[in-house]
Symmetry: C2
Subunit: 243 residues, 2 copies
Amino acid sequence: MFKRSPSLVQQVKAHLKRRIANAEFESGRIPPESDLADELGVSRNTIRDALSQLETEGVIIRRQGAGTFINQAGLMVKTRLEEIVPYEQMIRDHGFSPTVQLVDVREEKVDPDLVSELNVAADEKLLVVQKLFLADEKPVIFSRTFVPPRIITLDFTSDDLHGPIYEFVPNYCQQEFAYYVTEIVPVVAPAWLVDRLALPPAVTALISFEEVGFNQAGEPIIKAYSYFRSDLLRLRLIRRNVG
Amino acid sequence: MFKRSPSLVQQVKAHLKRRIANAEFESGRIPPESDLADELGVSRNTIRDALSQLETEGVIIRRQGAGTFINQAGLMVKTRLEEIVPYEQMIRDHGFSPTVQLVDVREEKVDPDLVSELNVAADEKLLVVQKLFLADEKPVIFSRTFVPPRIITLDFTSDDLHGPIYEFVPNYCQQEFAYYVTEIVPVVAPAWLVDRLALPPAVTALISFEEVGFNQAGEPIIKAYSYFRSDLLRLRLIRRNVG
DNA sequence: CAGTGGTCTAGACCACGGG
DNA sequence: CCGTGGTCTAGACCACTGG
């Protein structure tokens, strides 16, 4: 039934998501784990791993003794903040059509604040990339990304920076992102942002993400500031009790 | 070595967290999974479950073929937004000493916006609880919580509302929270909030959480609005790539 | 009581990293 | 190459829900 790669768990997850999207479980109830295991020809543990992930994503709810059910409320969450998602995808998830404008690419002396955060020398220069993202032609995100040039191992042109930084770094820097630490900050839009994002007078407060991206060795490799029209892109999160 | 409850995974997790906090792994390296399994007398799967959770929490990093390591950067994250944490605890996690003021408890006709969100009748009344949280005597969070009285099955006084709502609902309503859907919204503090939170002129933008709490059956049972001095309580998040 | 999800085990094999 | 974490299996028993 399934191949060996990607992992069985991922395939089972995708399979169940598809069946849920196709409304194949009208009752809202998902078959018992043991039935799924038999049907898909994998062990119950594999099914359970897939279901656990779907539960974390808010797609289903499991109740011991009762069963596994589709979670309607989870559909409100368009973007899971715990996941690194390219902004183009985030815009698409909200039902808009994305456009990217590469506003500006330049080198700049490192800001003192970034010296310790990015672990660079005080006189080093940083590559600064500024982008504007539009949803159905309307500006919704402005981002400014700082990359220490020393990590870039291959030649590139500004065209190569048009796509998500999550693709640039693996392709041109021979390292992968492991995770981001993101701080969520409220800002009153300064004049230049009102201008950039063409904000209507009613919208003055924005969400900003201040993020540091780390590679697999736990070293900081990029810093980014992003500003969101959160009236258009709803930033939602599922929160749970944990042990 | 371990008892059967709480689960072995939880005990292993707590055990490892303690050893990490005690700096017992000077090298920053955590022993191989098989060693831990032998040492603690549990199966490797149990160890792996515990390590997976610690990785999700940002405590460790695992690298296939290389080993498992303590993640220094994870220490920046005081509050994991994906977890439901009582605000008193959040304040404590930031190194402050918390105080709670029960500002106000009253019944109020339901706001039209909440009718559909809380699935109540348009003429129903809601219990409204307003609280102010202080960190080292400084106001940092203001919250307003709406509860449909019909879910409250036991008698209570306003004293019972002094603690976290996460304790009130299980104790007085015979149901448990399963999860919250939280929307993160930036706001410019209106005059009454500037007053309540005693905001200095420099702080005008706040983070607001607009949350709906669901029970295990997936029914909405409470709605809450919270306003944070995010200059004092840093809202940070670990974001990852997922499949 | 039967059926469901929750926990745990022992063992196998794979994929990757570093010496 | 060896040692590490990553994936998967088959089976056992427990805890809870609901009729």
